[in-house]
C-alpha cells in the first residue's frame, strides 16, 4: 500500500516583508523548523509543535503559527486526530504519548457554577479598606477545644502539625527531572517569597533547592527516588503519592537519556539508568498498608510534620479518601482528570479519572457525613485556570488547591503538550543545557509570584462581594454556589442548588 503521509498540525506563516533575516527563529527552535539559506529563511511546518517560541521572540512579528485546516473529509465520528493517530500507530505499533492535562471536551463544571454576592440584606466588604484573611492551615484539626480549669486562660488542646499558607494556592508536584532545575527554582522561590508551598515531586531535593526546602512538600512516591532522612527532615510536609490525575493507575518512566549526573545524584540512581516508578507502591495493597507507611513517615519526622496522601480522582474517590483519613493522613490531595503530566499515554490521560469538581464535592460530603472532616485537609488539584476556579473549589469543600499547569504557563509554557520529548523551547520540561538556560529563575520566580499575588487579590475581591472576610468562612460554604445548566444528579453530587433557588 502507499504509505500515508502525515499532515502538519500547524502552518508556519512568515511575512516576508517583515522578515529581516536576523535568524533568531533559526537559532532558537529546538525542533529545527526554521533554516537559513542565503538570504531566505525556510520553515518546515511538519516539524512545528506549536509552542510559539519563535513567534514570541521574532523582533518584527513576521512569524505566525496557525493551526492547519482539517485535512480529511469532515466526519462527525472520525476526527482528523483519530485518523492520524491510527495511521501513526499502524506505522509504529507503539503507545501514543502526550504531555500536560486532558484536553477533551468533558463538561466543565466550574463553568456551570456561579458565585453569590451580597445585596441590601447583608453588607459586602471592600478588601482595599478592610482586612481580608486568606491564611490557610493545612493539617488535621482537633475534635474539641480543651481549656484549662485554672483561673489563668490556658489552651490544653493538642493541635496536630500544620502548614501555614498565606494563600490557599500551592504549586503542585513537578519533579526535578520532569522539569528543569531553573523551573523548580522559579516555583520554589515564588512559593517562599509569597508564603505558600511548592512540591518536590518524585525527584528528590536538588542541593540548589535546599534554601527553599522549608516551604517544600517532599513527595514519597512508588519509586522512592531521592528519599532519605535528610530529605524528609528538610521539607515542611510529606506527601505520599499514590496516583496522579493525568494518569491514574500508571507509573512513571524517566528514560535513561534524561538521567544526567545531577538528576542521578538527586534521585540517587546510577547515571544513565531508567528511573522507573511502579504503578502501585509494592508495599501498599490496602488502607492498612498505607497506614503503616503514613506512620513510618510520621515516626521518621517525629510527628512534627503533616503527612498526606495524593490520589487521582477516580470513581471510588470518596470511600478511598475516607480510608486515607482514617489511616491517619493529615491531608488528602485529590487530582482530577484535567491534571497535567510530563508524559502519559494519550488515551489514559484523556479517558481515565473524573472531573475534580465532582471529586471535591463527594469527598467533602463523605468526610462530613462520617464526622471525620476535621481530621484532614483536602487539597484539590487538576486544571485550575483562574482565581474563580479556586474560589469555587474552596466553596465546594477544598482547603487549598495545587496549581501546576497555570504555574508553568506563568513561566512561559504555551501548552504544546510535547513535554515528553525533552525539547521544550521554553526551558521548562527539558534537561538539555541549551534549553534550560532559557528560563531565568529570577524572571520565573517574579512571574510565578505575580500570579499568586494576582489570584489572591481576585479571591479577596470575590470574598468581599460575598460579604465574607476570611477564606475559612467560604470553605465548604456551598450556599454561595449555584449551578447553571446542570441536571439533578449533578446538582446533588455537587451539593449545590440551581441558579434561581433562594437560600
Amino acid at each position: 500500500m502507499a504509505k500515508a503521509k502525515y499532515r502538519p498540525e500547524f502552518i508556519v506563516q512568515r511575512d516576508d516583508e517583515k522578515c529581516i533575516r536576523c535568524q533568531v527563529c533559526v537559532r532558537m527552535c529546538s525542533n529545527d523548523v526554521h533554516a537559513y539559506y542565503p538570504d531566505t529563511v525556510i520553515s518546515d511546518s511538519f516539524k512545528c509543535v506549536g509552542c510559539h517560541f519563535c513567534e514570541d521572540l521574532c523582533p518584527t512579528g513576521a512569524i505566525a503559527i496557525r493551526r492547519s485546516e482539517p485535512h480529511i473529509k469532515e466526519n462527525y465520528h472520525w476526527s482528523g486526530t483519530d485518523v492520524y493517530n491510527i495511521i501513526k500507530q499502524a506505522d509504529t505499533g507503539g503507545v501514543l504519548l502526550t504531555g500536560m492535562g486532558c484536553d477533551r471536551p468533558y463538561k466543565d463544571y466550574f463553568g456551570h457554577i456561579v458565585l453569590n454576592a451580597s445585596q441590601v440584606t447583608n453588607p459586602s466588604i471592600d478588601p482595599l479598606r478592610e482586612p481580608m484573611e486568606l491564611r490557610t492551615f493545612i493539617g488535621g484539626k482537633p475534635e474539641v477545644v480543651i481549656i484549662g480549669k485554672s483561673s489563668e486562660p490556658e489552651l490544653r488542646t493538642q493541635i496536630p502539625p500544620q502548614l501555614e499558607l498565606e494563600t490557599p494556592i500551592m504549586f503542585s508536584a513537578m519533579s526535578y527531572g520532569s522539569i528543569s532545575l531553573n523551573a523548580c527554582k522559579s516555583l520554589a522561590k515564588a512559593a517562599c517569597d509569597f508564603g505558600t508551598c511548592w512540591n518536590t515531586g518524585e525527584g528528590g531535593l536538588h542541593r540548589d533547592l535546599s534554601p527553599y526546602a522549608h516551604r517544600a512538600i517532599v513527595q514519597v512516591a512508588s519509586g522512592r527516588f531521592g528519599v532519605n532522612k535528610e530529605y524528609l527532615d528538610a521539607g515542611c510536609a510529606v506527601e505520599i503519592k499514590i496516583g496522579q490525575g493525568a494518569k491514574p493507575g500508571i507509573g512513571g518512566h524517566l528514560p535513561g537519556e534524561k538521567v544526567p549526573e545531577e538528576v542521578s545524584r538527586t534521585r540517587m540512581i546510577p547515571e544513565g539508568t531508567d528511573a522507573l516508578s511502579p504503578a502501585p507502591h509494592h508495599d501498599i495493597y490496602s488502607i492498612e498498608d498505607l497506614k503503616q507507611l503514613i506512620f513510618a513517615l510520621k515516626e521518621a519526622t517525629r510527628y512534627e510534620k503533616p503527612v498526606g496522601v495524593k490520589i487521582a480522582a477516580v470513581h471510588n474517590v470518596a470511600p478511598i479518601a475516607s480510608g486515607i483519613v482514617r489511616a491517619g493522613a493529615d491531608f488528602v490531595v485529590i487530582d482530577g482528570i484535567r491534571g497535567g503530566t510530563g508524559a502519559a499515554p494519550t488515551l489514559i490521560r484523556n479517558n481515565v479519572g473524573i472531573p475534580i469538581e465532582l471529586a471535591i464535592a463527594v469527598v467533602d460530603s463523605r468526610l462530613r457525613e462520617e464526622g471525620i472532616r476535621n481530621r484532614a485537609s483536602i487539597i484539590a488539584a487538576g486544571g485550575f485556570r483562574s482565581s474563580a476556579d479556586v474560589v469555587k473549589a474552596i466553596a465546594l469543600g477544598a482547603d487549598a488547591v495545587y496549581i501546576g499547569t497555570a504555574a508553568l504557563i506563568a513561566l512561559g509554557c504555551h501548552l504544546c503538550q510535547r513535554c515528553y520529548t525533552g525539547k521544550c523551547n521554553w526551558g521548562i520540561a527539558t534537561q538539555d543545557p541549551y534549553l534550560t538556560k532559557r528560563l531565568n529563575p529570577e524572571i520565573g520566580a517574579r512571574r510565578a509570584y505575580n500570579l499568586l499575588r494576582a489570584w489572591s487579590l481576585e479571591i479577596k475581591e470575590m470574598l468581599g462581594g460575598m460579604g465574607i472576610n476570611a477564606i475559612e468562612s467560604l470553605r465548604g460554604n456551598r450556599e454561595q454556589l449555584r449551578g447553571v445548566g446542570l441536571n439533578e444528579v449533578e446538582l446533588e453530587l455537587l451539593g449545590i442548588k440551581h441558579a434561581g433557588e433562594a437560600w
Binding site: 536576523c22 535568524q23 533568531v24 537559532r27 518584527t60 538539555d432 543545557p433 532559557r438 531565568n440 524572571i443
Partner: protein, 159 residues
C-alpha cells in the same frame, strides 16, 4: 573620575538568540526602525556587541568602559576619549582615521571595524542617545543587565 554605568553579562542565562545585536543595530540606525534599518538602510550600522558561543555557553559582550582603557592609550587622534561626566569611553567617528589600533589594543575584542561610510572603528556607546541600552532592554531572558557605579541594578522603568 566617575565610574560609568556598566552592562553585566550573565552567560548562564544567555540563550544565544542574538536579539541584542538586532536591537543594537536598530538603535544605531538612522531611522531607528527595525525593518527599515535591516531592509532599507545602507550601510547598516555595526553592532556594538561581540557575541561568543561555544557549545551551550554563549554570551553577548559589549565595551567594558575600562577604568584603564588600553584603547585610549592606543588612539593616535584622540577619537577615543573618556567622557569625564559619565566615565564612559566614547568614540568620535569624525576624528577617527581608521588606524584600528584600538581594535588591536582592546583586550576584550569589543571594538569592531566599520567599513560603512568610511573606514572607522565602532563600539558600544551604552545607547547614549536613548538613555537606556537597547540590548539590555530587549534581552528576553535578562542575561545582560545594567548596573550603576555601585553595582546596583538599574531597571528601564527607573530611567
Amino acid at each position: 573620575m566617575r565610574k560609568p554605568k556598566r552592562i553585566i553579562i550573565r552567560e548562564e542565562y544567555c540563550m544565544g538568540c542574538r536579539l541584542c545585536e538586532v536591537y543594537c543595530i536598530t538603535q544605531h540606525s538612522k531611522s531607528k526602525d527595525i525593518i527599515k534599518a535591516y531592509r532599507g538602510e545602507e550601510p547598516r550600522p555595526v553592532s556594538g556587541i561581540y557575541f561568543e558561543e561555544k557549545g551551550f555557553v554563549s554570551f553577548a559582550l559589549q565595551c567594558r568602559h575600562c577604568d584603564d582603557a588600553p584603547c585610549l592609550e592606543a588612539c593616535i587622534t584622540g577619537a577615543m576619549y573618556r567622557d569625564e561626566s559619565t566615565g564612559m569611553v566614547l568614540h568620535d567617528r569624525e576624528r577617527c582615521v581608521g588606524c584600528w589600533m584600538c581594535i588591536m589594543a582592546c583586550p576584550y575584542g569589543v571594538v569592531k571595524p566599520d567599513f560603512g561610510e568610511r573606514k572607522v572603528a565602532s563600539k558600544c556607546d551604552l545607547c547614549i542617545e536613548a538613555e537606556f541600552p537597547a540590548c539590555v532592554e530587549h534581552c528576553p531572558n535578562e542575561a545582560i543587565v545594567l548596573v550603576d557605579e555601585e553595582g546596583e541594578r538599574i531597571y528601564k522603568e527607573a530611567v
